[in-house]
Amino acid sequence: MTVAVVRFPGTLDHDSAARAVRAAGGDAAPAWHQDTELPAGTHAVLIPGGFSYGDHLRPGAIASRSPIMGAVRRHAEAGGLVLGICNGFQVLCESGLLPGALRTNASLSFVCRQVRLDVTDAGTPFTAGLEGPLSIPVKNHDGAWYGDPSTARVVLRYHGENPLGAVDAVAGVANAAGNVMGLMPHPEEAVDPLLGSVDGLGLISALVRA
């Protein structure tokens, strides 16, 4: 199964995202921000982390208005899976494909460490069969989710803490249909025992099963 890995100017994690897709048994195909179509044969889309367009204006704001996002939107509207990680999550919220917004961390600090995540909704294709707490790292400065958790489909919460200051300790949300999901932690950095955890593999594997 082919997973398109979207890259904007300033994207950083495309290589580790592609490596994680291969670790999950899939093929990764690069998609450039100026493309108007996803790579031929794309089954699922992964928008990786980084600092697209230098985080100018608001993280993810400019990337969310780029040509490739039209193709990502059509893929999502057709029921295809889309996973946004970190900056990819910010891009999906800015594009309106996911509810809420990501704000500067309450501590004003860049937070880079392992966190544990509770799976609060196992009814999406991404979280089906996942049991928390999952051990996955975060690394961001603007990762505090803001939104209405009573209307958003919250799929992941920080376990026993709220390291970024998100509303209700939300770490990841999905759209109502469950085929678009975003999270601030980095599952692609938790797919190899050498890195201390393989708890991210389940989320990445969902893209490959698509």
Binding site: L57, R58, A61, I62, R65, E94, G100, A101, R103, T104, N105, A106, S107, L108, A144, Y146, G147, G165
Partner: protein, 79 residues
């Protein structure tokens, strides 16, 4: 050409950690009369066209602000 100034501010009720940090620093410098600080941004546009204010408002709605977390104002400064 017309200059239009857009200000974008965190919405009332949305935590503004940057404003809080600045308020704390002002207090430590002895400015003890500061009750609140909000930090936003100012965007200066030099534009041409029939209705710069309406055009700037559309820019705010489509890109310059995120209505979930920010409010904006548009001021035409003349040209």
């Amino acid at each position: 050409m017309t200059r239009v100034v857009v200000t974008v501010m965190p919405r009332a009720g949305v935590l503004d950690p940057q404003g809080q940090a600045v308020q704390g620093a002002l207090g430590r410098l002895g400015f003890d009369g500061v009750d609140d600080v909000r930090v936003g941004k100012r965007i200066e546009l030099t534009v041409h066209g029939a209705d710069p204010e309406a055009e700037a408002r559309r820019m705010c709605e489509e890109l310059l602000s995120n209505p979930l977390i920010e409010d904006f104002t548009v001021t035409v400064e003349g040209g």
